[in-house]
Amino acid sequence: MPTLKKYLGYVLRFFDLLLMAISPLMMIMFIIAVIMGMDYGGAHLRLLSRLEQKGQVTTGRIDYISIHGNSLTVSLPGSDGSEIKGYLELKYYSEETIQSLAVGDEVTIRFVPGLNDYPIDLALEEHLDQVRGYFSLALRQVLIMALVSWVVIVIHPEVLFYGFGQEYLDGMQKVLTR
């Protein structure tokens, strides 16, 4: 009768072969995670760059807070003296900051003027540090995806050497005959 140790060996061998089988997918997943991470990170860095280089500061009035939409509507003074509406995303701010805001409040807004001076990329001037330090859920998920795929590839890196010829074949042969 095979011993427990031998059964354990079979299970580990099964997982080892499973990791090897999925390692090509993990390589693709890591590449996609890097590209997505650069996209999310790059978009946020570009937002910060626009706010700091082209941003204008003004005072606005909160007209509406949408908790479900995670945004608030503010009225800002336009360049011709009229009132224009702007939409500010709340995802950058902590719960305490959001709770401290109320309809009718006067807030200092930093915004980037877009087409026809319409305000785009709005942020709360007093809480700009939270915008700078924002680490989005999407980016966190992408990092987890990258980390998991990296661990699998470190355990079975043979797929990385495909295209280098003999190295790949040597690696495959060694794993299958272990």
Binding site: V154, P157, D170
Partner: protein, 297 residues
């Protein structure tokens, strides 16, 4: 992008693929044709060189014809079916070339890496941009100092050291892509014919290296497990060569390139980021000389 520019772009991409392939397989793409042995006294171009010349001729004739017929200025935007399929095929080809194959990767040595880092450093100093000091120091300044020491020392390195240096070199290329705003160039909608040709060559070179950077990061980081070290010893000779061009030639070429970049920064003749990108690309491909080819001569 117009149809004429699109053809120039495609030719630039094809030329770069041919050059990279020829170099990765031990060829010297820029070498003057030499007479073959036997009963062929006249100098002959090798196959990749022939292909480049013929394709170049075909591109010029096609662009000329299209311009004469007034079709050259028609749009070849990516939203149209034919350009879209062509871009998709090119993208898939470069993706697999960077991620799975190694048939297009130019081999580097200490002088190539040092020249790339010096070019990028000079550009950062003259461009007026404000790069992140920590990133620049870590990715460029320190490696450039290390490479200078290694070039002067002139001794072969072991595979693990080569892997670290090669990874550092790839990161410096990525930093250069970011600092020069290469991504913004890809979003441009209009190119002149020469710009499109140059952009085509740069696009292939840098996209290939970008994808390979991710793959090589995985290769290098897999060395955390000692059992994976054996792979590095086998693959590094295909990526990093101990063959070097003569020191005098390296210094002469480097000084010429740095002087051109400095002069261009002063006079503003050519878009600086294109000149820098082209210098790095040409440096990587022109400063490598295969010992195999020189011994066949």
């Amino acid at each position: 992008m117009t149809v004429s520019s699109f053809i120039a772009l495609l030719y630039g991409m094809l030329l770069e693929v041919l050059w990279l392939w020829d170099q990765a397989h031990g060829g010297d793409f820029l070498a003057r044709p030499r007479p073959l042995l036997g009963n062929q006294p006249h100098a002959q171009l090798r196959q990749p060189q022939w292909l480049a010349v013929m394709l170049g001729g075909a591109a010029i004739v096609l662009i000329g014809l299209l311009e004469l017929l007034g079709l050259g200025s028609k749009s070849a935007d990516i939203s149209l079916p034919i350009p879209f399929y062509i871009y998709t095929l090119i993208g898939l080809f470069v993706f697999f070339a960077g991620v799975i194959w190694n048939g297009l990767l130019p081999r580097v040595n200490e002088k190539i890496i040092l020249s790339a880092q010096m070019i990028i450093l000079l550009w950062l100093l003259t461009s007026g941009s404000q790069p992140n000091a920590w990133v620049t120091t870590l990715v460029l300044v320190i490696p450039a100092g290390v490479m200078l020491f290694l070039v002067i020392r002139g001794e072969p390195l072991n595979a693990l050291v080569k892997a670290i240096l090669y990874l550092w070199y790839l990161f410096s290329l990525i930093l250069m892509l970011y600092q020069t705003g290469f991504a913004e160039m890809t979003a441009r909608s209009s190119f002149s014919i020469p710009e499109a040709f140059i952009f085509g060559t740069l696009f292939i070179f840098f996209l290939l290296h970008f994808l390979f950077t991710i793959r090589f990061f995985l290769i290098a980081s897999s060395m955390v497990l000692p059992r994976n070290h054996k792979y590095i010893h086998r693959i590094m000779p295909t990526l990093y060569s101990d063959e070097q061009v003569p020191f005098s030639r390296f210094i002469t070429l480097l000084m010429i390139v740095l002087a051109l970049i400095g002069l261009n920064a002063w006079l503003g003749l050519v878009e600086a980021r294109i000149l820098v990108s082209l210098s790095v690309m040409l440096g990587a491909q022109a400063l490598f000389r295969s010992k195999k080819r020189s011994s066949e001569a």
